[in-house]
């Protein structure tokens, strides 16, 4: 199957999925309140898919493990919360401001972090992330401390279905932009820095500058996801910035497949699905679902590090030969 055919196939497959996603809420709406609940859940899946895909710019394509990515998600959420609740800004404007503020934060933090590699990068991003988490926690007057900010106004036409569609449109736009970035010459150089740092330097890539730009873009898109998430639950909480949330996003990328562009989106949706379904199966699972998830993740790391997409690729290749 030559390259061109492969590309077409992807586009068809992509378009079909998007069409399905647009119809989904209307199908779900016919299942009464249970369906309404799943509209909320799929909206959350879309938002978290955007967050995981933004992280993967740094993780899968940049080869850098950031444990501070949730900070940009949280900053985006607080931007929307504060602008809408305290300054009465409209949702659209707030959703534009959120990524900018998050991107700015990523620029400041990124400037320091990209100078380090490997473990040190991971720990410094964790340190900065926790620093922001602590500040949000202590600065009671501005961020509401551990109570967070509740009651973010929501335009009344934005019922569950409409908000789902808004999130879907934003997600698709961001997804295409990020995809363009990854396939651009900039994206290729970033991937080269992951493959072989020295070779990247030899052929004249200003590694630090590329990694910083990549870091800022990832922060930008994480900010959008944070903003959408704040409006979903109509509150912003310090806990959005905690490093364990960055950990969840990293796992979403691993489970989905870090080296495929669509992997993280699939991974995060599967994890959210598991989180809900595992507790629904049986009452006894409610207390041990977290440990089950832990074992699933352990299994993925040991036996399927290339993630679900990787597995799918391997299986289809085996079937073909």
């Amino acid at each position: 199957m030559d390259k061109l055919q492969q590309v077409n196939k992807n586009w068809i497959f992509g378009a079909a999925t998007v069409a399905l996603l647009f119809i989904l809420p209307f199908v779900l709406a016919r299942f009464g309140t249970t369906g309404e609940f799943w509209i909320w859940v799929t909206t959350e899946m879309i938002i978290m898919a955007l967050f995981a895909t933004s992280l993967n710019l740094i993780l899968g394509f940049g080869g850098m493990v950031s444990f501070g990515h949730a900070a940009f998600f949280g900053v985006g959420a607080y931007t929307v919360a504060l602008l809408m609740k305290k300054a009465g800004v409209s949702l659209i404007l707030a959703l534009i401001a959120a990524p900018c503020v998050a991107g700015l934060t990523a620029a400041i933090i990124g400037w320091f972090c990209v100078r380090l590699i490997g473990l040190y990068f991971a720990i410094l991003t964790l340190a900065f992330g926790q620093l922001l988490y602590m500040i949000a926690f202590q600065w009671y007057t501005f961020t509401g401390g551990d109570d967070g900010i509740h009651g973010i106004p929501k335009p009344d036409f934005l019922g569950p279905t409409n908000y789902y569609l808004l999130c879907l449109v934003v997600f698709i736009a961001c997804f295409l932009v990020m995809r363009m970035i990854v396939n651009s010459s900039f994206g290729l150089s970033i991937r080269l820095t992951r493959e072989n740092l020295d070779r990247a330097k030899f052929i004249g890539i200003n590694v630090r500058r590329y990694q910083l730009i990549n870091f800022i873009m990832a922060g930008f898109f994480a900010g959008i996801a944070g903003g959408l998430f704040a409006e979903l639950n109509r509150f912003a909480q310090t806990e959005f910035l905690h490093w364990s949330r960055s950990g969840d996003a990293i796992f979403a990328c691993l489970v989905g497949g870090m080296y495929s562009f669509v992997g993280p989106a699939i991974g995060s949706s599967v994890l959210i699905f598991l989180h809900i379904v595992l507790q629904q199966i049986h009452q006894s699972l409610v207390e041990i679902w977290a440990i089950i998830l832990g074992f699933i993740l352990l299994g993925m790391v040991l036996f399927a590090p290339e993630g679900l997409v990787g597995l799918y690729g391997k299986i289809t290749r085996k079937l073909k030969t």
């Binding site: 493990v65 320091f112 340190a127 041990i288 977290a290 832990g294 790391v301």
Partner: protein, 294 residues
């Protein structure tokens, strides 16, 4: 307030620092030799504390011998648990890329923390201090808790013991040699994977010991694992990954730093570890004593 007050803060900071050193040195050692940053190290520390609690209920309360027995048995149990983790899990990821190692230990953290919840449940627990160490010693005209002073004695003993093991024994030579060239150590006829397993168990032993000492210092609850691993990262980063001397200095800086900052600006005290971590990583990424990553 006077000088005794500041002296008091110093001693308190040092004893907190000592417990932190014992746990962080384990993390640093494991990283130094195995090149693996073990997120689950904090969970092993917490398991040590919970085991100390469970065992203490079986032993006669208040006697110093039962506490010493705790200090003997619990770290060994945690080291054995380490063995049970190292062989099936860690051994499969040596040399693999950092991300997979991080994720494995992170998954382990989720599992172990949750296991503690299922086994020991939610109640807040602690180990009663043995009568000998329960009271306080008069120091000038101030009272210092005997237990803190006890830790100030135990801490340096562990530090010296660890130094002696690493710098004055063959095992120490093998461990430190494996830090620079594990394959060469193998080519010289030493079973390197056994050295790595032994090092990992030593790291877990230290985490367990830290857990026991902490169990009588403050409360044991299900959050201490996650808290401690972050503090250990700060220590190991400040002191330099893989350097035990660095871990000692780093943990004392943190312990005393938090103790002194806590009073004037209590809010800043929680931020201090992260601030110090970020500062050191920016100025001197490999910490005070570490070596630039090869």
């Amino acid at each position: 307030m006077g000088i005794e007050f500041y002296l008091f803060l110093l001693i308190n900071g040092l004893s907190q620092g000592m417990v932190l050193f014992i746990v962080a040195s384990g993390l640093s050692l494991v990283f130094g030799v195995l090149r693996v940053i073990n997120f689950a190290h904090g969970s092993l520390y917490m398991i040590g504390a919970f085991l100390a609690f469970s065992l203490s209920t079986l032993l006669p309360a208040g006697s110093i011998f039962s506490f010493l027995l705790l200090m003997l048995l619990v770290p060994l149990a945690v080291a054995l648990l380490g063995l049970g983790l190292e062989i099936p899990l860690f051994r499969r990821i040596y040399g693999k890329e950092h991300l997979l190692q991080l994720l494995l230990t992170y998954a382990l953290l989720l599992i172990l923390d949750d296991a503690c919840r299922l086994i020991w449940g939610g109640d807040i627990r602690n180990v009663a201090r043995p009568d000998l160490l329960a009271g306080s010693i008069k120091f000038f005209d101030m009272f210092l808790p005997t237990y803190n002073v006890f830790i100030l004695v135990v801490g340096p003993l562990i530090a010296v013991g660890l130094w002696f093991l690493l710098y004055r024994t063959r095992a120490g030579n093998l461990i430190r040699a494996a830090v620079s060239h594990p394959e060469m150590v193998g080519a010289l006829g030493v079973n390197v994977s056994r050295v790595m397993t032994a090092t990992f168990m030593l790291g877990c032993w230290l985490a367990g010991l830290g857990g026991v000492l902490m169990s009588a210092l403050a409360n044991i609850d299900l959050g201490i694992g996650m808290e401690k691993i972050i503090e250990c990262f700060a220590v190991v980063v400040i002191g330099g990954l893989g350097s035990i001397g660095g871990a000692l200095l780093g943990s004392l800086i943190l312990g005393v730093g938090v103790a002194f900052i806590q009073l004037p600006l209590s809010r800043a005290a929680i931020v201090f570890p992260y601030f110090a971590m970020a500062l050191i990583l920016i100025i001197r990424p490999w910490g005070l004593f570490g070596k630039p990553e090869r």
